[in-house]
Symmetry: C2
Subunit: 205 residues, 2 copies
DNA sequence: CCGGCCATGTAACAGGTTACATGATTGT
DNA sequence: ACAATCATGTAACCTGTTACATGGCCGG
């Protein structure tokens, strides 16, 4: 239920419309919590129904009306409770890990191809992330509508993303070296034991 | 679509039933790709419908019949294609990161409470993971139905899980120190600019 | 004239979680 | 007597993705 709480988190800084929120998500947390506008609008309606936010329509001339949402006390309590919640720091699902697990089914050149591509993607990703961190006196960032002085926790999450990507890149490069040295001795996966005889026979030869 | 391919990956090592697969998932990849039996059975039916596996019923005495699935050539091709696919190495969503982003809404003691709890969870998680890695001559593991000689890529994913958790733990501990030193200067999130006047006013004071 | 910004939504679909449901056998 | 193992499924639900839909205004 993180989208709900992230929206409430942003509403703590002032009333916003769905459109506002979409832009804010894209400019701040889209890195580790992307959100489509379709989802935002739906969630906002639910927040209002649950009494965590109130809505009022702001008519505009020449532009469509805005529906501006304001957080309520109940909403503030909900954010607070969520922030104190224990959330696992490691995601339970990793598509690249499950791919890695089965890499042994490929030939060595194919494995190296996959891993080198991975490394390249990571390098590019890191570059992109680094570009988003404005220096202490970043005029370009100021002009482009971004901001030179980042909030401590905003900077933190950006930094974490970069350092984590670097960590993964190091690991992938180590793995490439291992594969190049011929470390992976091919052998069946060892997860298949203590099964009925028919299946054992089917797995063995 | 990773569950589908993970199942096919396991089927490459021999025909298996849904029940078999559930146990295999729990003992091997549940760490980074958990699967419920409800999902496995459904997916198996779909694999058959798509011609990626064939099913035959194995009657048993005293036990329910087994539906044993065998991978087809089309299935093998599907796994192969999937393994060559480019999969992002960093998950796009991280619940703990989005929580971190809003930590500034809490008081300092609360922030430290959250972070220290996180560190504790990570330490416990690391211990659990380490216990699962059998040493080179691990009799206990052999007796308990696990296996002492791990396949290269099986070991790899386990190792990655541990190293990544250690990396995150180090990062959390660094953050705790920063917070204790009083580094986080409180200031509004800086993501709210270039907005219509009404909203600006609402955010500013 | 066309594309982009403003601003809102709906609907279909895919993937995963939780709970409900059945029923025989085996071990404590 | 009770719980666990074996073995299969269904159904409701939640979250997120993708595509479809509308419509005025402004700049190149």
């Amino acid at each position: 239920m993180s989208l709900k709480h992230a929206i409430l988190g942003f509403l703590e800084f002032g009333p916003k419309s769905g459109y506002d929120l979409k832009r804010i998500f894209d400019r701040s947390v889209s890195n580790f919590w992307p959100a489509q506008h379709s989802q935002i609008y739906g969630t906002l309606a639910r927040l209002e129904a649950e009494g965590l936010a109130t809505m009022n329509i702001v008519p505009q001339t020449g532009k469509p009306d805005r529906k501006v949402y304001t957080i309520t006390d109940a909403g503030r309590r909900a954010v607070h409770d969520w922030l104190l919640q224990e959330i696992p720091s490691i995601a339970p699902r990793s598509a690249s890990q499950i791919q890695t697990f089965f890499l042994g089914l490929l030939s060595e050149p194919e494995i190296l191809e996959v891993l080198r591509r991975r490394a390249k993607c990571l390098e590019e990703g890191i570059e992109e992330l680094v570009e988003r961190v404005p220096g202490p006196d970043d005029e370009a960032a100021k002009r482009s509508g971004r901001c030179a002085e980042l909030d401590f926790y905003t900077y933190l999450t950006l930094d974490f993303g970069i350092e984590r990507a670097r960590f993964v890149l190091r690991w992938v490069n180590d793995l490439i070296e291992k594969v190049e040295r011929g470390d992976p001795k091919r052998g069946g996966l060892a997860v298949f034991e203590s099964r009925s005889e028919e299946t054992k026979k089917a797995n063995a030869p």
